[in-house]
């Protein structure tokens, strides 16, 4: 039974041990426009990020014709940018992946269905982000395939507030 994922109960001390940091914050008000680096963002619970294209109620994003409650804020791992350079020689900047928050030290793919603290705000991860052809059109870089399974995380905002570059990201368990 050792080869079954649920054969050994997770050690909660281990799963809660990670801690990361916000390295970059970006928003853009409309589809296609470049992402702009910000030093802080205001997260509104149940809605989105002030000034961003996927703020519920004032959506102007590329996917806004497909409403999604769990897309209020999106995250991306800095480690993926490093891996793209290391493994595929692709230079992709934190303003190019088009997610809002670039984290370091946060296992985003492990967090689907879980809650965690992003600075003073509480998020709930709804699903993994998926790459789309749209991002290749905007960046002019062949990054669709290299981003499969590591394209970030979509989240709902449970408790809002202001998040800043350098804020700690930690498990809420």
């Amino acid at each position: 039974m050792l080869d079954k994922p649920n054969a050994v109960p997770a050690n909660t001390a281990t799963t809660a041990s990670w801690s990361g940091v916000i390295r970059f914050l970006h928003i853009t008000p409309r589809a296609f426009l470049p992402m702009r680096a910000m030093s802080e963002l205001t997260l509104v619970p149940g809605k989105g990020i002030t000034g961003d294209r996927y703020m519920i109620g004032s959506e102007e994003g590329f996917y806004s014709h497909k409403p999604e409650e769990g897309r209020q804020v999106t995250l991306f791992e800095l480690e993926t940018l490093i891996a793209l350079k290391r493994d595929a020689n692709i230079e992709l900047g934190p303003h190019e992946h088009r997610r809002n928050v670039t984290t370091e030290g946060v296992p985003l793919n492990h967090l689907v269905g879980k809650r965690f603290w992003l600075g003073e705000t509480l998020l709930e991860a709804t699903r993994l982000s998926i790459p789309c052809r749209h991002i290749e059109e905007i960046t002019g870089k062949a990054i669709f395939d290299p981003l499969i399974n590591r394209s970030g995380l979509n989240c709902k905002i449970i408790e809002g507030g202001v998040v800043k570059v350098g804020d700690v990201v930690r498990n809420a368990a």
């Binding site: 409309r30 470049p34 702009r36 996917y63 059109e137």
Partner: protein, 321 residues
């Protein structure tokens, strides 16, 4: 919230200036002066006009301004005998009007720089070289020459003035001297030299002939090119048959099945448009689909396809829609 996908960059006309000789110069900005998508020197954009027409124009300004000063500049010559695009812009478009534009396409690869640049422009075809000239002057690659072939008046003279003052422009007035021999305008030596041309089709053809012996990477002929097709350029057209409604839809070579369905008003869930997310799965009933997705198993493919990437090997493909 928009019910239809956003397909263009929304811009607002901030200024319209006279360019002389029936030309108007439009400055387009984001409604909030946000940065616009970047572009290469000499790139062009499509303008989606309120009357439904789509017209392509070169960007005249320095690419750095797209990110630093958030604007696109296009020069439009009113063509009274044209198909209506330039007339709509010059006669009925005003400051404050909204115009959707495409992402910029094309342009010259100027990095790493060549040692010398020689460009030939016919009339309003000077526009892409205004952007290129600004870039080359700013980056200190000053060795360039621009030949302008014009009937009489020089187009966009006020924008060309700094280049004229610096002696970088050679004007060939056809009303006085006739059409110049394009080959005679090109330098004798090809080493570390980039040559380019933009103008009417006859001039481009002359330029192509004159530059035949040049290495392809040293020659830039500015033609407005459509966005690259995502699929095999050898793809054949086929007909989609929708079994439930009996409708038949043509799918053009290079067009995706998904876009053919969407253009016909068929709403289908979709997301990644690359065959991995599974959102646009459709059941097929007859025909020979070509599967290009990475989510369906061989068993699933016997009855399903992903509309964003699938094609057809048969002339007719019947879908359960």
């Amino acid at each position: 919230m928009s019910k239809r996908p956003i397909t263009t960059v929304r811009t607002v006309v901030e200024a319209i200036d006279e360019g002389g000789d029936g030309i108007k110069v439009f400055t387009l900005v984001d409604p909030d002066h946000w940065e616009l998508p970047p572009f290469k020197p000499g790139a062009h954009i499509d303008l989606h006009l309120p009357n439904g027409l789509v017209r392509t124009y070169s960007l005249c300004n320095d690419p750095i301004e797209a990110t630093h000063y958030t604007h696109y500049v296009v020069a439009v010559k009113r063509e009274a005998e044209g198909r209506g695009g330039s007339i709509a812009l010059c006669d009925t478009t005003g400051v404050g009007d909204t115009i959707g534009v495409s992402l910029p396409r094309g342009g010259l690869a100027l990095d790493p720089p060549a040692g010398r640049y020689v460009f030939v422009a016919g009339g309003i075809g000077v526009t892409p070289f205004l952007s290129v000239a600004s870039y080359l002057r700013r980056t200190g690659h000053g060795d360039f020459r621009l030949h302008i072939v014009a009937r009489n008046r020089l187009p966009l003279e006020h924008l060309l003035a700094p280049l004229i003052d610096e002696g970088r422009i050679v004007v060939h007035r056809t009303a006085k001297d006739g059409r110049p021999d394009i080959a005679s305008l090109l330098p004798a030596t090809q080493t570390r030299t980039l040559i380019g041309c933009c103008g009417p089709e006859t001039m481009l053809a002359d330029f192509e002939r004159a530059s035949k012996a040049w290495p392809a990477e040293s020659v830039h002929i500015e033609r407005f090119v459509p966005p690259p097709l995502p699929l095999d350029p050898n793809a054949k057209p086929y007909t989609l048959v929708l079994a439930r409604s009996g409708r038949e839809l043509p799918v053009l070579p290079g067009q995706t099945m998904l876009s053919a369905l969407e253009q016909s008003g068929i709403e289908l869930a979709s997301s990644c448009c690359g065959g991995i997310c599974g959102a646009c799965k459709v059941r097929w009933l007859e025909g020979k689909p070509v599967h290009r997705d990475r989510v369906l198993s061989p068993y699933e493919r016997e009855r399903n396809l992903m509309a964003c990437v699938a094609g057809s090997d048969s002339e007719r493909l019947v879908l359960d829609l």
